[in-house]
Symmetry: C2
Subunit: 207 residues, 2 copies
Amino acid sequence: MKEIDFWFSIGSTYSYLSIMRLDDVARAEGVSFRWRPFNVRPIMIEMENRPFIGKPAKAAYMWRDIERRAAMYGIPAKLPAPYPLEELEFANRVAVIGADEGWCEDYVHATYVRWFQQGEPAGVEPNLTGSLQDIDQDAERVIAHARSPEIGAALEEVTEEAKALGIFGSPTYVVDGELFWGDDRLEDAVRWRRTGSLTARGAQASA
Amino acid sequence: MKEIDFWFSIGSTYSYLSIMRLDDVARAEGVSFRWRPFNVRPIMIEMENRPFIGKPAKAAYMWRDIERRAAMYGIPAKLPAPYPLEELEFANRVAVIGADEGWCEDYVHATYVRWFQQGEPAGVEPNLTGSLQDIDQDAERVIAHARSPEIGAALEEVTEEAKALGIFGSPTYVVDGELFWGDDRLEDAVRWRRTGSLTARGAQASA
């Protein structure tokens, strides 16, 4: 079965739920995911989309909603996690290297565990070196490589690709050109992958 | 079983899904809902929250997501519906009268059917008179009453009540002080009503 593209930015809060449960969902549902890191920040800035900054009621709700749903999925969480990330871009530069070298999922998982369970912001020390060491990568080499203009350009390139697909937030699942935004649309994306529809019968393609 | 408070503003797009399926959910799950109209607009303005205006990718996604989910629930929809509503406040003034007189749910259902199935914006003619006639109310009397300062003040009062609860968007379900925002949190609200938790066991209260 064709893969589901899992577009995400380290820095997104709700992405934590997806990152922690994607492997279980893949096994249970017999689907696979391609991890596609991108930089959501310039897309948010261009849209003047500040989902939580200056919106205390919405931010309080977001943390409570994540807390309840993490418990529902059996995912540990120490909330609120430090937010927003100062070095969101750098965290995702590292993920881009991981995607190229085959350890993206492991790194993203490790950096989110440190961020959401131990209170260490992703993209800065001690999280950066720690999460690379957690997955047996040479932290010094990876961090130096992540600073290079080449990796900066690679992150910009995938971000343009995300934008061209119509992506405006993280996480976004993409199945045959259909976008499913949010951890709470993961089940919709899986259903679409299987049947090309969300209807109960599952046989009828939506217009 | 205690009721679930269903807070909504006519004018919200995702609320259409809740409004159309709430009666079925109530019957299937053995729960009941108290319909609480309020005016989400001043709350959104205060937060500088413009979810779709100036955000074409997000707006396009919203309509497609509603289209897919409406099909999933078997709800007809002619999309995109006219948006945003010019007379959002007036539409909700009428709903406040309905809540007082016992026909709120019927009116809201009727006005959304005209808005989302026939392309008539809610809160203005021909939708206003049409939806009141659909539910056998004296349109002239209700519309005159809705123009009164008394009803304007009543809508402001419930809006303050919503804000005090931490409500920032429509629809929001409230169960024992827990907020569940969005049509896609209706199932969470029902589960919370039954068990005080979202965990699988359902017996353990969340912190």
